[in-house]
């Protein structure tokens, strides 16, 4: 850990906020992506089942 001196709070809070928000964005993107794929696959399977 580098020596941050009197700016330690500012540096650590900035980095924590950034990494936290990016992590949240990635998780939300992933969850929405998985749900959209599952919904899409389910309806495609139903459609193909009806056709055959």
């Amino acid at each position: 850990m580098p020596e941050l001196g009197k700016y330690a709070d500012a540096v650590l809070w900035s980095w924590a906020a950034t990494l936290g928000l990016i992590a949240l964005l990635i998780v939300m993107t992933w969850v929405q992506s998985r749900k959209a794929k599952a919904d899409h696959d389910a309806i495609e399977a139903r459609r193909k089942g009806k056709e055959s």
Partner: protein, 258 residues
């Protein structure tokens, strides 16, 4: 005749670009590109952020707070770039009516919003020890706040209109209007010199540029944030395409059942 022939050749040469606006081609191409994009994002972000946080010295005038630059500048850069990407995609929608471009603009908005929030938060945290205040009605800070409000308005508009083509039309117009603030966010410092915010951190002018010891890791961090943006927009555009296809199939099912 030779002139006409040349014009047609030129048109054919550029037509292949529009083929990527086909949803099936986009899904195929983005599916192939995503693993490479994820790897490149992780690698460049890790290099830029680890180098910037652990291996850069204190600056004479900023002390160790200079390390905030590695999250503040790339996020601010991406906040503005995301809006310009949305502008280009919106113009393509308005002119050529390619659905993938409208969906890509929609997909980019949440990513741009988060980047704007990061830039505002880290700027406020950095401003307190440097300027003695978290916030000032400085031209760049104010234009960034307005850009953030435009992002919120853009996403709200997509959510408020049921017909997707109408939503794409209206949000595209909003993207064009909001570009004024995206442009101001970038150049406000040059237009009005009375603000607290410093000038450009990265510049082609050697005298304006920051020292190499900070500049190189910053370049990696910016490349990492840029790649993160592209990766997330690809994934989110794929999600939007799937949602639209699912919606269309549901409608077809309901019509068949009726």
């Amino acid at each position: 005749m030779p002139e006409m022939h040349r014009t047609k050749q030129a048109r054919d040469r550029y037509n292949f670009l529009w083929e990527w606006a086909n949803p099936v081609k986009f899904m195929w191409f983005s599916g192939l590109a995503l693993p490479w994009l994820v790897a490149a994002t992780v690698l460049t972000m890790a290099i830029g952020l680890i180098w910037g946080f652990f291996f850069t010295p204190e600056a004479a005038n900023f002390g160790s707070s200079v390390k905030i630059i590695y999250v503040h500048v790339p996020s601010a850069f991406m906040a503005i770039s995301a809006w310009f990407m949305m502008l280009v995609a919106s113009l393509i929608w308005l002119i050529r009516r390619h659905h993938v471009s409208a969906l890509a603009a929609k997909a980019a908005a949440p990513v741009g919003t988060v980047m704007t929030v990061i830039a505002l938060i880290t700027g406020a945290i950095w401003g307190e020890p440097m300027w003695g205040t978290y916030w000032a009605w400085d031209p760049r800070l104010t234009s960034f706040l307005i850009l953030f409000l435009f992002y919120l308005g853009y996403m709200a508009l997509w959510g408020a209109i049921e017909d997707p083509d109408t939503a794409a039309d209206l949000t595209s117009v909003l993207a064009v209007v909001g570009s004024v603030f995206a442009f101001l966010s970038r150049y406000a410092v040059n237009f009005w010199n009375q603000g607290l915010h410093q000038g450009a951190t990265l510049s082609l002018d050697q005298e304006e540029n920051i020292a190499n010891v900070y500049w190189l890791p910053l370049l990696f961090a910016m490349a990492g944030f840029g790649l993160l943006f592209v990766t997330l927009v690809f994934i989110r555009t794929r999600t939007e395409i799937r949602k639209r296809r699912t919606h269309a199939l549901e409608l077809r099912e309901r019509m068949a059942d009726a």
